[in-house]
């Protein structure tokens, strides 16, 4: 057989490509369920790490099932918000925003040809009040993403975890591997009313503002990429956070003669009753004292 004539060559390559493509598509489809489960557990363990429920290594040792269990026991509610800060939809326990979904929302935030609609930004509230939001953007070689946890009802960062696809090992990869870099976020403030909201800068300890942390030496591009990712996403969340943070639980009481001081909730006057009570509180005259509820 003459294997060198043109028709044979073209047919041969076409055939081999089709066979290989079919095989890979089949394998990819049949393994998809398992891979998604792994990715979901990975995403959850990254969020839990950011929210300081443990270290990444601990979650890795726990295994997928235990990580999901931990998440189910700690999560209070999860929902998406739009850029106006309004709640859009509730998220079920299964819906955690893996990098793939973050990528789509990243397009939506930035607008342009790749956008598929209005951004839907996930917010994860844990039972201890910690709020976790994701970030996503482009590093030097590929995407970088992460999860940032905020203290209850404030713009103070509690913790952060970052991951990447292909940043340089030992340099850019430090956003994931260097515990000191992630620890530097704890206690910092996101200035949601300013631009930029947060900065990763070249600076020494002591000279950094509340919304600045020191960049990684030798990884300028990754640091800048992460900085851009954080700012793009934080800016999108700004209205949500400003709405939540500027309205702490101590709302001004609207009753003309409210007896409660430092009312911990929106107090309501009930006609025919003296004093105020909190929504959800059964007793008529707890005077805003939530401890009554437990009694």
């Amino acid at each position: 057989m003459n294997t060198n004539n043109n028709v044979y060559t073209v047919l041969y390559t076409a055939l081999i490509v089709v066979v290989v493509a079919a095989l890979l598509a089949f394998v990819s489809q049949s393994l998809k369920g398992r891979q998604d489960a792994n990715e979901k557990a990975e995403t959850i363990s990254q969020m839990l790490t950011a929210a300081q429920f443990g270290t990444k290594a601990e979650f890795q040792k726990m295994g997928n099932a235990a990580v999901l269990e931990k998440y189910a026991s700690e999560i209070d509610k999860a929902y998406t918000v739009n850029v106006a800060g309004e709640k859009v939809a509730d998220l079920s326990l299964d819906e955690v925003f893996s990098p793939k979904l973050l990528k789509r929302q990243n397009y939506n935030i930035k607008g342009g040809a790749n956008a598929t609609g209005e951004p839907e930004l996930p917010v994860f509230e844990f039972k201890d009040g910690t709020t976790v939001v994701p970030i996503y953007g482009a590093g030097l070689w590929g995407p970088v993403w992460g999860y940032v946890a905020f203290e209850k009802g404030s713009s103070t960062i509690k913790g952060a975890y970052f991951d990447h696809e292909s940043e340089t090992a030992g340099l850019g990869a430090k956003i994931k591997d260097d515990p000191a870099f992630q620890a530097a976020f704890a206690g910092k403030q996101a200035a949601f009313d300013k631009a930029p909201v947060f900065q990763i800068v070249k600076g020494a300890e002591g000279t950094l503002a509340d919304n600045q942390i020191d960049a990684i030496t030798g990884a300028t591009m990754t640091s800048q990429g992460l900085d851009a990712a954080i700012n793009t996403w934080f800016a999108a969340y700004a209205k949500y956070f400003l709405g939540n943070v500027s309205q702490p639980e101590r709302n001004e009481c609207k009753c003309p003669s409210c007896p409660c001081e430092d009312c911990p909730c929106d107090c309501h006057c009930t006609p025919g009753q003296d004093g105020c009570h909190c929504p959800g509180c059964e007793c008529p005259d707890c005077n805003g004292n939530m401890k009554h509820k437990e009694e």
């Binding site: 294997t3 044979y8 041969y12 890979l24 398992r34 295994g63 997928n64 030992g170």
Partner: protein
């Protein structure tokens, strides 16, 4: 087993080792040797890719059009690498390692050992010897990987396979060992040792 087949298997392990003698696949051997676990998974992946690609291409060797032979080789090798990557991603035990090895699993496609053995051996030999040649070359590569990783994990983290060995005696892990340049230094030492044993490799 005849002598030729034995030679096919044993040669790549020591005398014709792909890393220390042919100096192929250096790049990934610097990148994935920080931990023994990573090195082991990488070694097994290369063995599988190298062995099965050689087998498939040896079976196809008489049908492959000469002018597109490299492309056909690449398609088969790429297919094997993607398969290995997909399978590693699917299991809980290997998912974390796959993440840690990240791009380097995908980069097995460009590992010169795989293409080199297919081009030099599989296309001119029967399937069984080709398969053994691929596996043996993967094993030769893996052996060096494990030796390098052994020293790097022991001295760099004080552990072996993640189990504490030196740290309990107050050992302070050496960061230089973790960085890629040290892998090159170690590799140099291995080449030095091999060449002093095997005198015929020394240049006059």
């Amino acid at each position: 087993m005849n002598a030729k087949l034995k030679e096919t298997i044993l040669n790549p392990i020591f005398k014709g080792n792909p890393i220390t003698v042919l100096v192929l696949g250096i790049c990934s051997s610097l990148a994935v040797t920080v931990t023994l676990k990573g090195a082991l998974v990488m070694a097994l992946s290369v063995i599988v890719v190298c062995g099965i690609s050689s087998l498939i291409l040896s079976l196809l060797r008489n049908t492959i059009p000469g002018r597109v032979r490299i492309i056909v080789q690449l398609v088969v090798v790429a297919m094997m690498v993607i398969l290995v990557d997909q399978i590693l991603k699917s299991f809980e035990a290997t998912y974390a390692i796959d993440k840690q090895l990240s791009v380097y699993i995908g980069l097995i496609i460009t590992n010169c050992i795989v293409m080199g053995r297919i081009e030099a051996f599989a296309l001119g030999n029967k399937p069984w010897p080709s398969f053994l040649d691929g596996v043996a070359n993967g094993a030769g590569y893996g052996l060096i990987l494990l030796i390098v990783a052994f020293f790097r994990e022991l001295l760099g983290s004080g552990t072996l396979f993640g189990i504490d060995i030196l740290n309990r005696f107050g050992y302070e892990p050496n960061n230089l060992v973790i960085l890629p340049p040290f892998a090159l230094i170690l590799l140099g030492c291995i080449v030095w040792v091999q060449r002093s044993i095997q005198k015929d490799l020394q240049e006059k």
